[in-house]
Symmetry: C3
Subunit: 169 residues, 3 copies
């Protein structure tokens, strides 16, 4: 594994699977969090996840500038885990960033990594069409990012109930 | 097959797949229903499913005490089909039961079965994040139960359009 | 490939995958669109998709009478691409057509094709239960059509992030 996408639903075991894969690699462990604590529910979830990871992990926050962060942190003896692209998509929309440009920069960074890189993302397009236009926009953006990243990585899995289905290679 | 999890979306053919697998085994057929007829739509659906199964099946209702029911009914010459864990998750939440405790008891019962056991469950985490906190809680609980059960069973499949994708072994 | 179902979520790369598979076949390319431009968002999406396909494709609109259209257009030296069955399900419901009858006619047409036929459909049942009854009815109808078509075709794939998971054969 050089670059890996872990795709799945909410509570599908994505993050745990990604962490287990990361911890099986040699080297330092760097957790790149895209989450921002907008409310108490989110703040509590972030704190719980950080405690679950334990002290082996160093955490960096990168709600928007993912490509820059990857390029600054990637090195042969460190594993980078980006968790997750779906929140990043949401952050880009709220910050009114150019999503296509940010996605292209991320794809460029994936191709230029000097060590293992694991990206976690939600599949959000398998329910019925959302009522409101913003949710539809978010769903489109998240799906477009997933496709671009899946095409760029060496390996991709889809998690269901904690169990991986191989997408590639 | 000793223990099997059949996971899938609404109208993915989960129940039919589970019933076909159960009917291929030797022995009595016991259907453990977690559904409760809260409204007319649900009552009609329950009655239709019972008619679809036909007279070979004995039906037991177990909206909450699934582990106890499995331990009371399991025997080498009977196939137990639990349908479904998602409604059970919903019942636990509404009854304010301890979900972690109930899940641990279910996992214990799965490990202690004396005959074939098939569990049906919905994957509900692949749409966009629900607006309301209760739906998010339900989604978390359902996903956590699915992961625990998937880890405990011998075999798991994910159904899409009536066709199984193998998750394990 | 004689008949192929491409199933997946919103923005999962279904249409692109189906078009790539169609363009790999010899013969004329016929795009059977079930979409109807109810609003500006939909009209814009239809126009963008038509432009993306390019001039090799002939487009036919068939919002309701899919079986008739397939039987009129199928021939050994043309590839038919139906995109998509989920919008067709929605159209049938709004037009108050008999869904079971229309599905049976579609399954008959799939069995009677004289050349390659590719059908695109959304999986919509993997989120939480929708609040309103119409959305639940739509989800049931879409899932039932997917199961019937999946059973009728020679080949079926499930797309996630642009990557196919084999469902059959």
């Amino acid at each position: 594994m050089r670059t890996l996408l872990v795709l799945g639903g909410a509570r599908s075991g994505k993050s745990r699977h990604a962490q287990t894969r990361a911890e099986a690699e040699a080297g330092a462990l760097v957790y790149v969090a895209t989450a921002q604590p907008f409310d108490d529910e989110m703040a509590e979830r972030i704190a719980r996840h950080r405690a679950d990871r334990g002290p082996r992990w160093r955490t960096i926050e990168a709600p928007l500038d993912l490509a820059t962060t990857i390029m600054a942190e990637t090195r042969p003896d460190a594993v980078l885990l980006i968790d997750c692209l779906t929140l990043w998509a949401s952050n880009l929309i709220f910050a009114e960033r150019d999503v296509d440009e940010a996605t292209a920069a991320l794809v460029g960074a994936i191709g230029a990594t000097r060590g293992p890189l694991i990206l976690v993302s939600n599949e959000v397009g398998l329910g019925i069409v959302p009522d409101n236009a913003l949710a539809r926009r978010f769903r489109d953006v998240a799906g477009t990012i997933n496709q671009a990243v899946a095409a760029a990585v060496d390996e991709a899995v889809f998690l269901a109930a904690g169990l991986p289905i191989r997408l590639k290679p």
